[in-house]
């Protein structure tokens, strides 16, 4: 199968720092591909470069293609309208706007927003339409951030650390939603929670020091104790035994672990 996203020799320099140094990988046209690595290796920078959000002071080189279409140097709003959905790290909901206004902002001219789909996944958003997004809990804000993107049809979703800072129960809910979303649209996911990775990801790309250190099957990676320890800085217990961490003990994730 042709990959939905091809990244070749991607280099990003920001303020003199060479953050990405010739990163190359592909994203399969179905399922979840996870981008892993220790803090500061360039995972978020990679997603932001793909969606055209490298700071103006930054310099991006290489090739990024979605299907046959080159993405580099195209403005972000055009990439997004072309079907590249982006859920940023830390949610980035508009705190001063209501939930309904946050969703309305994501509507696109010429297409019918899929409110039914979004409210089916997140009924809470329907009930809290008039509430200011800034007063939502972290989990609700994450649902809003994902719901905002799902209002429109996407060819590829970029999701940056969706479970960061969330309570274990909410982590499970977010993982369930992403699993359902990934049934219809491919996802490139940055995630630190290895239980979520185990549950969702089929392919993995591991970055280290601004370069691709490993690519392959995500489950194989998590079974390789020495590899996960050297690349991700976690031991075998954390990578292979989800019950060792509180958020991994949730029934849904545990159920998946047994499969």
């Amino acid at each position: 199968m042709e990959p939905i996203l091809t990244v070749e020799e991607l280099s990003v320099r920001i303020s003199g720092l060479h953050i990405l140094q010739g990163v190359s990988f592909t994203v399969a046209p179905t399922g979840v591909t996870v981008l892993l690595g220790r803090n500061g290796v360039g995972k978020t920078t990679t997603l932001r470069a793909i969606v055209g959000l490298t700071p103006p002071a930054g310099e991006v080189r290489g090739t990024i293609r979605m299907g046959a279409q080159s993405l580099l140097a195209r403005p972000t709003h055009r990439l997004v309208r072309g079907g590249l959905g982006y859920v940023p790290e830390d949610r980035c909901v508009f705190a001063g706007l209501t939930v309904a206004e946050n969703l309305r902002l994501a509507e696109r001219r010429g297409s019918t927003p899929a409110y039914d789909k979004v409210f089916a996944l997140f009924p809470e958003l329907d009930r809290r339409g008039r509430q200011r997004a800034g007063s939502l809990s972290g989990g609700q804000q994450q649902m809003l951030a994902i719901g905002r993107v799902l209002l429109n049809d996407n060819r590829l979703l970029l999701v940056d650390e969706p479970t960061k800072g969330l309570a274990p129960k909410v982590v499970t809910e977010v993982a369930e939603v992403l699993e359902r979303v990934a049934e219809s649209v491919p996802v490139l996911l940055v995630e630190q929670n290895l239980a979520v990775v185990r549950r969702l990801a089929r392919d993995a790309v591991v970055l280290a020091a601004g370069k691709v250190a490993w690519t392959g099957d995500a489950h194989e990676l998590l079974l390789e104790t020495a590899l996960t320890k050297s690349l991700l800085g976690v031991g075998s217990a954390e990578a292979a035994a989800p019950s060792a961490r509180s958020e991994l003990a949730s029934p849904a994730v545990a159920r998946k672990d047994k499969l």
Partner: protein, 296 residues
Amino acid sequence: MGTVILLALTGLGLAALYFLVASGLSLVFGLADVLNFAHGLFLGVGAYGTWWAAGNLPGAGPDGFGFVLAVAFGVAAGTLVAILVELVLIRPLYSRTIEQVLVTVGLSLAGVALLQATWGADARPFPRPGWTRQVTGILGAQVPNGGLLLIIAAVLVLGAILAFLRWTRYGLVIRAGVENREMVTALGIDVRKAFTLVFAIGGAAAALAGALGGVYFGTVSPGQGGSLLIFAFIVVVIGGMGSVVGSAYAAVVVGLVQQFVNYYGTSGLGDICVVGLLAVVLLLRPQGIAGKVATA
């Protein structure tokens, strides 16, 4: 009592003038991160456009509908200049702050020089309807109608901007953009169109301030925009960069402080107090009264 009422209402008139200049300045800074030192030029264009139209534009004049037409011409001219400035000079320089400041400072100086070269450096009498020279008795105070006109105009502009921000799609984009411009782009919205729009709104409000400021002061001069801009910047910082309502609150505070202190203290002391107030706000609440929320 009559003196206090008079000072309060003339202070509010001054506040209205500051608000008309500061509201657009605040939106432009809040959304586009542009410190527009050329904003005073839009005021100057509005004032001179109204002045010129009252004497030369067919149908326009110093009274009645003719004056409304003259003001409309001045506002249209200020809006057009604001749009052109954004499209031609600012747009290529977004995210290049130093260059933006240099360009807008240069443009404000060049604009004043151009007005001086065209119509002279001296203040010229401003054509205004006869009733604006008269006064209205309010609670024992004889309040100039020109000041009351400014207050009414500022309240209408505030209401119109808030309604626009609250009820329109572009208003929603601007409110969101003031919070997080990058995320607006990441939702597939071309935020640059909103930049042009806020420049147009700011230019129109500043041009209206120029036209009504001419009525208030009775004269028009090339440097008027620049001197008002200093206080407008203070209002923007005190109110919260990006907040229209914050600008309104801050304009009222600045206008009243200036008027009362200048009257009961020494002339000019009010201006110093306003700068002191700015320093206090920056020390205690650097985000301003309302913070960075467009309609807060």
